[in-house]
């Protein structure tokens, strides 16, 4: 995780945002480290943009504080915050050339016109748009406009760069390319990026750490891998990636393992979680790719069922299995090692097995 000596770039403390009688953020606290690619992830309407706009200074803070490298900034106007934004619809100045757009921030920070243009030129080189310097934004494609917006926001060397769903308007292929480019730019410039998206895959691909939000509340904060492998609650498990969410009862807890049973008398062992005791009825999450199918029981905990359907999804095959008298499971098998593995056809009787520690109990 984050090394100790790293300083905190943005510290949000108990931030509340109310619009009239609607509360968009409910006492949210989080710290974003210097030099980090940080992502705010959550479904549409959960308050990501609101939080970003509060950091940029476009929305006032109803309650709580926001610190930028230790300095309280909530009363500073946007033009006094060393923070720049890449807007969702780019917001490029339509009457200025690409070069003048990028030079604008530098000029406002006191550079002379020629210095600003020189700096802007260098920035355009970084995003490979040098040959478009003298065009108007309307003469560029969506992807190019996106890169101009990026160059414009990076040119004044902000301490923190805010990006509000910057890739959502691009088609899939371009989006993938831009994800890599953004990641690369972040490493190259060493600027802290706060990236907003509702796309969990995008978040997992790009981020050092992710804050998962819903309904104006922080659900979980951690490294991308952590959040994927150890979701804290049902919302996170369900929102991030594909998962099997099942209701279980805890029968026995010993040595960090919780023995549970699910409908139909099936039994399985999960990692125990603090706060969940014997007798509780909770949810369990297990990722489909951490399950495998066999024709005969592999160990005493194999769950017996019948194949319902195979779905081909490019790199993987997804198999739906109905447990005997029990719930349904999705199992993912990689297409690459199909040679070694048997494909079970619908109707086949099979056993579902899981890797040790793959199943997690969820707090709520």
């Amino acid at each position: 995780m984050v090394p100790e000596e790293q300083s905190i770039a943005i510290d949000v403390r108990d931030a509340v945002k109310r619009y009239d009688d609607f509360t968009a953020l409910k006492k949210l606290s989080l710290s974003i480290m210097d030099n980090e690619f940080f992502t705010l992830l959550g479904p549409s309407g959960c308050g990501k943009t609101t939080l970003l706009r509060m950091i940029a200074g476009f929305e006032n803070v109803t309650e709580g504080e926001i610190f930028l490298f230790g300095e309280e900034i909530k009363n500073l106007p946007p033009y006094q915050r060393p923070v720049n934004t890449v807007f969702q619809n780019y917001a490029l100045f339509p009457h200025m050339t690409v070069l003048d757009n990028v030079a604008f921030g530098l000029e406002m920070r006191g550079s002379s016109k020629s210095e600003a243009r020189k700096g802007a030129g260098e920035m355009l080189e970084l995003v490979q748009l040098t040959q478009f310097a003298n065009r108007k934004p309307s003469q560029l494609s969506g992807g190019q406009q996106q890169r101009v917006a990026l160059a414009r926001a990076l040119a004044p060397r902000p301490k923190v760069l805010l990006l509000d769903e910057p890739l959502s308007a691009l088609d899939l292929k371009l989006r993938k390319a831009m994800q890599l480019e953004l990641k690369h730019l972040q490493r190259e410039t060493g600027i802290t990026f706060i990236f907003v998206t509702h796309d969990q895959e995008e978040a997992l691909t790009m981020s050092d750490r992710i804050a998962v939000m819903s309904d104006g509340e922080l659900q979980q904060l951690g490294a991308a891998k952590d959040i994927y492998e150890r979701p804290r609650n049902m919302f996170v498990a369900d929102f991030i990636g594909e998962t099997n969410l099942l209701e279980v009862s805890v029968d026995k807890i010993a040595n960090g393992r919780a023995v549970c049973h699910l409908g139909g008398g099936h039994e399985l062992t999960c990692n125990s979680v603090e706060g969940i005791g014997v007798g509780s009825k909770v949810h369990m999450s297990v990722r489909p790719e951490r399950l495998f199918i066999s024709a005969t029981p592999v160990e005493n905990e194999s769950l017996k069922g019948r194949v319902k359907e195979n779905i081909f999804i490019g790199t993987d095959i997804s198999t739906l299995i109905n447990l005997v008298d029990g719930p349904e499971f999705i199992v993912r098998t990689s297409n690459s090692d199909r040679g070694n593995k048997r494909i079970f056809e619908p109707g086949n009787e099979v056993f579902v097995n899981m890797e040790m520690g793959a199943a997690r109990l969820l707090i709520d």
Binding site: Y79, A91, P94, H95
Partner: protein, 309 residues
Amino acid sequence: MTGGAPNSGGATTDTYAKARTWLLMPAWLVLLVLSLTPVALMLVYSFLTKEFRGGVIWDFSLAAYDQFFFDRGLFGDEPARIEWTYIGIFWRSIWQAGAATVLSLLIGFPTAYFIATRPEKARPIWVFLVTIPYWVNLLIRTVSMKFLLRDQGPLNDFLMFTGLIDSPIHIINTNFAVQLGLFYSYLPFMVLPIYAAVERYNFTLSEAAADLYASKWVTLRRILLPAVKPGVVAGCILVFVPSLGSFLAPDLLGGAKNFMIGSLIEEQFKGNAGNWPFGAAASMILLTLVLIILIMFTRQQAKSNKAGG
């Protein structure tokens, strides 16, 4: 072919073309009858000879234009000198109309901006409020303005009541009174186009400018103004042009000294003392002037659009 689904593409196009011709007829008629005919008449009249009791004699003559530009003495037998009287009136009119336009812009722009930034539902109410005074006839409004501005009128009373002034300021029958009158006559023509432009403006651009360290003033000057410039130009033209040819405000508020083109032309067609060809010539000169100004405006705008400034 009438009604029903057309059975071939060609037939449809034909039908539409015919329908379009007919549907556009009223527009063509209006343009022709109401706009081009009067101008053509005016042009013809300006080259005719004057009849002493008003009206014209159908004899070609350049006398009207000659009278406008040249002074040949009382009996017309001296060498021609430039006649400054009418050029002076034109010059004053341009100046007055310009001042009224600037005044309208200074008040109209903030007003339009204010309305455009109200919640969406409240905007029509504000627009409605701006237009209310214009339900009253222009003549009546201008006359009431005369009463408002009098030395013993409500404006002076109010200013003296607040202690801002000790004795009444003399406004009526000054250039400033005319400017105020013109400003008040045409203010909505400034407010409405600017309002339309600001309402269409993408305010995220202002946020982007603030984000890039631009102060409010710089954002206004470098981002908002260029974006709403077409509305501002339209507003200025819509105030300047009618102000230039206006005669009510100068007649009623300016007194005899502050004559403008409109009054000059009006005089030529009134009663028996008039000179129709001269009035027509003055109108044509005014029209040419306005056209030149409009062309300069459009040229300049096209240029600045191309230059990317």
